[in-house]
Amino acid sequence: MADLLQYFFSGITQGSIYAVVAIGLSMLYRSTELINFAHGEFAMFGALGLVTLWGHLHLPLPLAFVLTVAGVACVGMVFERFALRPVKDPNPITLVIITVGASIVFRGVAMKVWGKDPVALPPFSNLESIEIAGAVIVPQSLYIVGAALVLAGTLHLFFRYTIQGKAMTACAVNKKAAWLTGIPYERMGLFAVLISAVSGAVAGIFIAPVTMNTYDMGTMLGLKGFCAAMIGGLGSLWGAFAGGILLGVLESLGAGLISSGAKDAIAFVLLLLILYLCPGGLFAQKSAERF
């Protein structure tokens, strides 16, 4: 019983990482219909930025947090302005391939700046692991779950109740019509990528203490985050959160109860099964047929 609970907790630890990355991916898809394969790299920049500012320069954590997020936001804006916006024929497949290319560039830059070795960071607070009924959970994973919930909540409110949020959704639904009603869609696109970079940086910062931080960590994060977003239904923020946790728990249960060698296989077979049974994802928006 304690074992089962431990597998569950381990799954939440791992799943919260997937979730916090997936939320940013889902958000960008919702507002621009773009799948950003460089999202994992935004998280990588967040984590490595924290390594430099907090781990090496020993700035206070809140200051390091703000500076890192601001830095990654700048990277995001430059990326949108110089890589995405100048595209003459912005159909989704072109843009997706551009994001793949950008992810490779970002990895290369990070390798030059931070080197090739993995770096570990201490957790935010020096608390002992929390023990519940014989199972243990690390405080940092609670922070990650918290960060994911706050991120999803804030974005949810933003899309629901602010004029900018609604304008962004409008741009995603039909760019031309949005433009006709007076929405500056170019600025909205920039804004969307900016928010996505910020959410990626936040994700990277929170997961930095529980993972090994290297220039190529973004690949795994992006891929698993994408899976999580797919399970939850692309475009749904809460779906991304649930999808991430579900993927993490499935992996952990697979490793613990069946075989640790087949851990990834088990998770992916279940993923395929879910997508087969409900192709839009578990929390697909009812308004998927918007056009």
Binding site: F9, T13, K116, D117, S129, V136, M212
Partner: protein
Amino acid sequence: MSINCIKQIIQLLIVLTLVVSPFSTVDAASVYKIGGIFSSTGSSSFLGDPEKKTMEMMVDRINAAGGIDGHMVEAVIYDSEGDPAKAVSAVNKLIHKDKVIAIVGPSTTPTTLAVVNFVERARIPLISCAAGIKITSPVKPWVFKTAQSDRLAVAALYGHMGKRGVKTVGIITVSNSFGESGLEQLVSLAGDYGITIAAKESFGANDTDMTPQLTKLKGISPDAIICWGTNPGPAVVAKNLKQLKIDIPLYQSHGVASAKFIDLAGDAAENIVLPTGKILVIDQLSADDPQRSVLEEYETMYVSRYGGAMSGFGGYAHDAMTLIAEALKGSGGDRKKVRDALENIKDHVGVTGRFSFTPEDHNGLTPGAFVMVEIKNQTWNLLTD
């Protein structure tokens, strides 16, 4: 002049350059070219990077001393990025384009196993820097290696466990060929040392959470847990073990024997015991150890040139280069003679250990190449019992 005519002239020029260029390289034949394939970037760069640096350093040293029989040595080094496919393309370049006499590397077992067939076919001596026992067992005529076999590491580890009264162990290995080879040796030698393996778990090379596997091991409660992998996975195992408050002694493999592991695992590294080459504890070795002077010389040379901490991995390339230099003497650059000379080298004291090659043993090391160390106060502590 018609366009056709210009075309013909251009074609002629191309043909001429293609035909003539092989002859223009004849002059360079007096240089002994030695190839190197190291994973100097990518996840196993902690192996390849010091190896590449060491090889460059050794080549400069040989040349500064006047070369080998008057021939200068030139290193042609490619980066495999730890990818077997890239190692294969590198070995083909070394064989067909660079026409090297011998090859040092690759750095990892998967990349080495990928290139073995190519060097066998091309008949080029290769000295691998990887540990996997499959590289030299069964013996392949042209393939040697300087890294200690996993079998020796397991023997040293089990020998130590016997003294500590460990009877049952739980094993957690990385799911790549380093882990699989380790697992194979751990299983096959367990009986000889009276050790029972209670459970076998594995983890992916890039996993960042091993708590499910450790929870499973905790339920079985063995006398000790053995983790067999290379960074960063084993550091995660050490950390997770501490987070889960599991109070079972943890043993690691020589795959983590570098300062980086202590860096990554932090406090969780305390009290971990592992087999390693003598390079980590040079100043703790007894003064009459023949390896001590070789190790000290290598350390001074490496640190004064590159600075920073030194790991044992660069030593594999050091030994490979001294062995090749030894074998090249009097060979006139003939690959067959180099291979035969390598096979007959006896009692060659290197950084990793003492090499005595025979036609049946292309690793040439004995269990004495390993010592057991314990991590105490963030540093390595030689265990003598």
